[in-house]
């Protein structure tokens, strides 16, 4: 074996306590952001989902066979599964076509939506009206900063589909936020 091969050989990225601890330390904040954006900003629920995801990942770590870069994607898959298993049934999300009416009903007093934090919360809440797959794409792309090809690989979809869905989702979010009275002036 050439020496550089020795230097590029990696051990299992999650196998032992130290490597998993490092993985947890490096990723848990982004995982939490991902969960918060997916579940509409409910903190306690997001903390539970994040914690459950890591505990489940620890339990099943030997079934993971990818690189350390792929480990985060694997963890997000676990997160999605937990969200679907535990919380989807409890929540009653409107269908895609019901978006505009629902947001109209929830329209807050325009005067209360002034600060950036509130706008950010409005955006996260508006995300919840997107269908699951598209919400996931938007969060991966804009909250976690993944590239389109990474998202396509992660969700096993063609890149083109992801691009088109992202574009549509942003338009939809834009319309929804406009109906809620969230504007550029208020974010300034």
């Amino acid at each position: 074996m050439r020496i550089f091969e020795k230097f590029t050989t990696r051990t299992h990225p999650l196998d032992d306590q130290d490597t998993f601890a490092l993985f947890y330390e490096n990723t848990h904040q982004n995982t939490y952001r991902y969960v918060m954006a997916l579940n509409g900003g409910f903190e306690r629920q997001a903390e539970d989902i994040t914690a459950d995801a890591y505990l489940r990942a620890w339990k099943n770590r030997r079934s993971f066979t990818g690189t350390s870069d792929a480990a985060f994607g694997w963890l997000l898959t676990i997160v999605r599964r937990i969200v679907i298993d535990k919380y989807r049934a409890a929540s009653s999300r409107p269908s895609e076509t019901g978006l505009i009416d629902n947001i109209k009903d929830d329209k807050p007093d325009a005067e209360t939506v002034l600060l950036g934090k509130e706008v950010s919360e409005q955006v996260i809440k508006a995300l919840q009206y997107l269908p699951e797959n598209r919400r996931d794409m938007v969060v991966l792309r804009y909250v976690l900063g993944w590239r389109v090809n990474q998202i396509a690989e992660h969700l096993a979809m063609p890149e083109n589909t992801v691009s088109v869905s992202l574009h549509r989702s942003l338009k939809q979010l834009q319309e929804a936020l406009a109906l809620q009275g969230v504007s550029n002036e208020r974010t300034a």
């Binding site: 230097f7 306590q17 947890y24 952001r33 903190e43 950010s120 936020l177 002036e185």
Partner: protein, 250 residues
């Protein structure tokens, strides 16, 4: 209505960074991989060892106060006894290429005896040693400051030599890309690698890409369980100098 632009939505999402609360961290402190949990176990073990050691030391001290017992104990332990109470003690060399106190502190943080050079290319002096706990690696830097052409003594340039060491090699400073052109060399009769090139980081994408054309000389090698790399872009330092420096590391 002045709608939120797509860019504004992107920016809001990009900057959305809630952080878990103490409830989450309290729960995670008991997780099977938690370092805190490990530390508590380690403290208990350490307290046990300290307790046993203290009892042993007290017993030795008591027995040493009786001359005949002391002689018997020393004989039993096979300890070397000096010829008198005062004997010559060769002085420890005052000069060192590194700040020994700092390297000692870094070794404690790192958990392994940090390797230091006993030879440096001409003009180089120890600059700093630091431990990066997130990547669990030690960085030693050595600077050479030279005057630039001209008569102004304030016009100088500084070239660094950087040595990185860790007990694992799955991090960027200690890795090369698969397509890197590697020259096999020998350090202390063991295989090592000499490489020209560098990782270039793209802060926007968060990706690092290996660049074969960047004029950085690197050596990668291993001493016992410690993986090391040293590098410099100083054109006055030759490949042979770097090998000699690597050979001098202890």
């Amino acid at each position: 209505m002045n709608e939120l632009h797509e860019e504004s939505i992107n920016s809001i999402l990009e900057h959305y960074s809630p952080k878990p609360g103490s409830r989450f961290y309290n729960r995670m402190a008991d997780a099977p991989w938690s370092r805190k949990r490990k530390a508590v176990r380690f403290i208990n073990y350490r307290q046990f060892v300290i307790g046993i050691s203290s009892i042993f030391i007290v017993a030795i001290a008591l027995s040493s106060s009786i001359p005949s017992v002391r002689a018997a104990v020393l004989k039993y332990l096979g300890l070397m006894v000096s010829s008198s109470e005062t004997i010559p003690n060769p002085a420890i060399p005052a000069e060192s290429l590194v700040d020994n106190q700092k390297v000692g502190e870094i070794s404690k943080l790192a958990g392994w005896p940090v390797k230091v050079p006993t030879w440096l290319p001409e003009g180089y002096k120890f600059n700093d040693a630091m431990y990066d706990p997130s990547n669990r690696l030690v960085i030693l830097s050595f600077f050479s400051t030279r005057s630039l052409p001209g008569n102004d003594p304030n016009m100088t340039m500084t070239e660094p030599i950087t040595i990185v060491q860790a007990l694992h090699n799955d991090i960027i400073p200690l890795m090369v890309a698969p397509g890197t052109s590697v020259v096999d060399i020998i350090i202390h009769k063991k295989p090592a690698a000499y490489v020209i090139g560098a990782w270039e980081n793209d802060a926007v994408s968060g990706q690092a890409t290996w660049n074969n054309t960047y004029p950085l000389q690197n050596i990668y090698w291993q001493i016992d369980d410690v993986y090391l790399t040293l590098n410099t872009k100083d054109v006055q330092v030759s490949k042979e100098d770097l090998i000699k420096l690597a050979e001098s590391m202890k």
